[in-house]
């Protein structure tokens, strides 16, 4: 009897123990982790992404750029892959189309009274050298630059990725190294022609009469008319803006962080695209667009009748300076 009682007490005790353990176990499983999160106060990604554009910290390697854990790139990608190609494409093709239409309707602007046979010096050897140095660099820079934006879409499928990469490598070297003579050229252009390119009253009249582009009107102009002044300032300001942003890209992270680099590339791309579009107009008017214009920068002299038609005030100035300005074609200036 006593043995049975002891056995019953043992079973009840065991059951009670199991009950207590069973009750306690879920309770501890629910409570314990909540009180022991050692990382509870640590920063969270979502919260950091909301607070700052760049999540950065400390790294044990001596590379400033590697300190950024996460940084913005999506906007730049969107710009680089969508916005820039569209703006550049519309600007360049738009100007090309406008020039074709203009040429077909207006044709070459002739020297109305024909050539006089007497020429006036328009650009001296230094001016022509600076112009052609800058122009040559510009053409290479423009083509190698367009290659970066449009090459993989237009050229790579034609010549294959390997050939395209090899060409792009050389194009990049040319782009980087020719930037130096180009920049020097832009600075020299700034210094050489700034005096004749300050806007004045004559330009107002010239602009009002649309520069004589429509019809056969020829508003008087000094050495440079308002259109040429516009080209001048596009070259100087566009050239300097491309140079500054270009050098930021060539010496990455010397002067700016990741967002500065992205901005530099964006500005460089847009300025360059618009620069190219404007230069297409410049090339047109200097070649097939106008009779007697190319020789100004080719041989350095223009026909007197051309000068009278397009730069009447400048011709008067040159003539008043003395007879040296006007010499018969082919005869050496004395």
């Amino acid at each position: 009897m006593a043995g049975l009682l002891a056995q019953a007490r043992f079973i009840v005790g065991a059951l009670a123990l199991i009950f207590v353990v069973a009750m306690a176990a879920p309770a501890s499983a629910q409570q314990q982790p909540l009180s022991t999160n050692p990382m509870a106060s640590s920063v969270k990604e979502d919260q950091l992404l909301q607070q700052m554009r760049i999540i950065d910290g400390r790294v044990s390697i001596p590379d400033r750029q590697s300190r950024n854990l996460e940084q913005p790139g999506r906007d730049w990608r969107q710009f680089q892959q969508q916005t820039l190609p569209w703006i550049a494409g519309i600007a360049i093709l738009g100007v090309l189309a406008a020039l074709v239409v203009f040429y077909l309707t207006r044709g070459m602007v002739k020297i109305e009274r024909g050539r006089s046979g007497r020429v006036v010096v328009r650009f001296n050897a230094l001016e022509r050298f600076v112009h052609w140095m800058t122009a040559t660099c510009f053409i290479v820079l423009a083509l190698s630059g367009l290659n970066i934006t449009f090459g993989k879409t237009l050229l790579a499928p034609v010549i294959g990725l390997d050939a395209f990469a090899a060409w792009s490598q050389w194009a990049k070297y040319a782009h980087n190294y020719l930037s130096f003579p180009f920049t020097i050229g832009v600075v020299l252009i700034l210094l050489l022609w700034v005096a004749g390119n300050i806007p004045n009253k004559v330009d107002v009249e010239w602009v009002k009469r649309c520069g004589g582009i429509l019809g056969s009107d020829h508003p008087p102009a000094q050495r440079f008319n308002a259109g040429q002044k516009l080209i001048y300032w596009v070259v100087v300001l566009g050239g300097l803006a491309s140079a500054v942003t270009g050098y930021l890209l060539m010496f990455p992270f010397y002067a700016t962080g990741i967002e500065g680099m992205q901005t530099a590339q964006s500005v460089h791309g847009i300025v360059a695209a618009l620069f190219i579009a404007v230069m297409l107009g410049h090339i047109y008017i200097g070649t097939i667009g106008m009779e007697g214009a190319f020789e100004a920068m080719g041989e350095g002299t223009v026909d007197e009748n051309w000068a009278r038609q397009h730069h009447a005030l400048w011709l008067e100035d040159e003539k008043s300076k003395g007879p040296a300005g006007a010499t018969p074609r082919g005869a050496p200036a004395e």
């Binding site: 990382m39 640590s42 920063v43 590379d63 090459g151 790579a156 980087n176 060539m250």
Partner: protein
């Protein structure tokens, strides 16, 4: 096929930099290049946290999108690789990468930065698997040998996980349930446009 991903369990990272060292040693990465790095946010302050970061092998990778010579490609395992034969070292991939993963062997001197180098998920490059040419340019091809990236394999706290995205996400979720907390998979929203609910 698996969709390879990295996952850094930031609650476990102790900033030992073993992943960085393992990577450099395994691939004989040149001096000055770090395919992986550990960034410590709020170092020495309350709320400090360390995260190991390398190329995340993004879905719809921005580097591939902006590359002007299309030198990037994605493998069947969704690993983002590139060809150093095509790369012209323009640096655009670095501007587009949200994680600062692309590395260049030369500091910008007249824009010659050399061929870009980055984490390959230990999967080499376009050359024949495990060839000498592949090793010289991209390092060891562990995936071709059936092994996972060394950084994660030898992580002392198993903070860094590498492998099929679904499997490592499952491992991470189980951890979070078991220990009761988790700060999420860092960089996943940016890289894969998804996150792990914790």
């Amino acid at each position: 096929m698996a969709r390879m991903k990295f996952l850094c369990d930031a609650d476990r990272c102790i900033e030992c930099n073993a992943c960085v060292t393992a990577c450099k040693n395994e691939h004989e990465v040149p001096w000055g290049i770090n395919r992986r790095r550990v960034v410590t946010i709020n170092d020495g302050k309350p709320g400090e946290r360390s995260i190991s970061m390398a190329c995340m092998h993004c879905t719809d990778a921005p580097c591939a999108s902006v590359c002007p010579v299309n030198c990037f490609y994605t493998t069947a395992d969704a690993v983002v690789l590139h060809s150093k034969d095509l790369c012209i070292g323009c640096g655009y991939c670095f501007y587009a990468c949200p994680f600062g993963a692309p590395q260049y062997p030369k500091v910008g001197n007249f824009g010659s930065r050399g061929k870009m180098d980055k984490c390959t998920f230990c999967a080499g490059g376009p050359e024949a698997d495990s060839s000498q040419a592949e090793f010289v340019k991209y390092g060891t091809n562990r995936l071709a040998e059936g092994k996972l990236p060394l950084c994660a394999e030898m992580c002392s706290t198993k903070s860094l996980l590498a492998g099929d995205g679904e499997i490592i996400a499952q491992i991470y979720k189980e951890r979070v349930v078991k220990r009761g907390y988790g700060s999420g998979a860092w960089g996943w929203k940016t890289a894969y446009k998804e996150s792990i609910a914790t």
